[in-house]
Symmetry: C2
Subunit: 172 residues, 2 copies
């Protein structure tokens, strides 16, 4: 019997156990450029310095998945945070689960629906699904994460495949 997750709104309070929401709402707003711009300042915790890591900036282009949307695996990055912000302003989905003795606790998994003007940061070690995009076409994300000793990033990746009874299906 697989688990069915119903998306809930993405809010700082609800997402706090897994990381940060990146949004201007509630942020420190600084007037800069003689009033021609506002700086919404320091919106998330970038934590990528462990074991010689450094921040890198990439663009992920995600392609829509078929529905009903089945989460194929959860993954986590033990040595660094990973921040996502959508470049196409459309809603998107994030699935997370708390850790239980080194594996995701699927009974406590949650699905968040992010607005098109919301990004998020997965904290180091937070179990999460790969990018889950539905809809008409690709959606790009600006991503800030960690580069360490290994160019393929494999020193900072753990995967938990889901199959059979452990499958997560999204009610979207």
């Amino acid at each position: 019997m697989s688990r069915m997750l119903t998306p809930e709104p993405l809010t700082q309070a609800a997402f706090a156990p897994f990381g940060d929401v990146i949004e201007t709402e509630g942020a420190e707003a600084r007037r800069i450029n003689a009033g021609f711009a506002t700086r919404f300042h320091d919106l998330t915790r970038i934590d990528v310095g462990r074991e010689g890591g450094r921040p890198i900036l990439s663009i992920f282009e995600a392609r829509p998945r078929p529905t009903p949307l089945v989460v194929p695996l959860l993954e986590r990055h033990p040595l660094g945070s990973q921040s996502f912000f959508p470049l196409e302003s459309r809603a998107w989905l994030a699935v997370v689960a708390p850790d239980a003795d080194g594996a995701p606790d699927l009974d406590a998994a949650r699905c968040f629906r992010a607005r098109g003007d919301q990004g998020l940061t997965y904290a180091p070690g937070a179990w999460h699904a790969p990018l889950l995009v539905t809809g008409a076409g690709p959606q790009r994300f600006l991503v800030v994460d960690r580069l360490g000793a290994l160019a393929d990033l494999s020193d900072n990746l753990e995967e938990a495949p889901l199959a059979g009874e452990s499958v997560l299906t999204l009610a979207v």
Copy 2:
């Protein structure tokens, strides 16, 4: 007599003396998420660690300036890079100048027109104008820059006001 700058296309080669262009074109493309996404990997040099600095992520919302567009000042950040990527996919303008003995060399100033799918990184110490947005409404940018000892960022800012003969006007 003020200087008039004509925008030129933003390319990696032309912008190299001042920093990097952030774009997927020509980038290393990695297949991830079982083929459901492409990672355009490590698109710019984030250089924010000097003197105890750390990377922060912010959103700048820039409001349109009146035309003809007059550049009020150039600024630079000696201790850290500053990366911008537009969240509204519209063309935008960047003005830069090489340094000459601690001041911008205005005779060598250049104006670049970035496409809506191009960001850029100003290298540490590169003289540049504040965000220059024209058009119908505000344009937001995701920004990665440096936070050091001072919360107001004043330890990493030099400004060169432009007035009279030193004014830069853009042919837009």
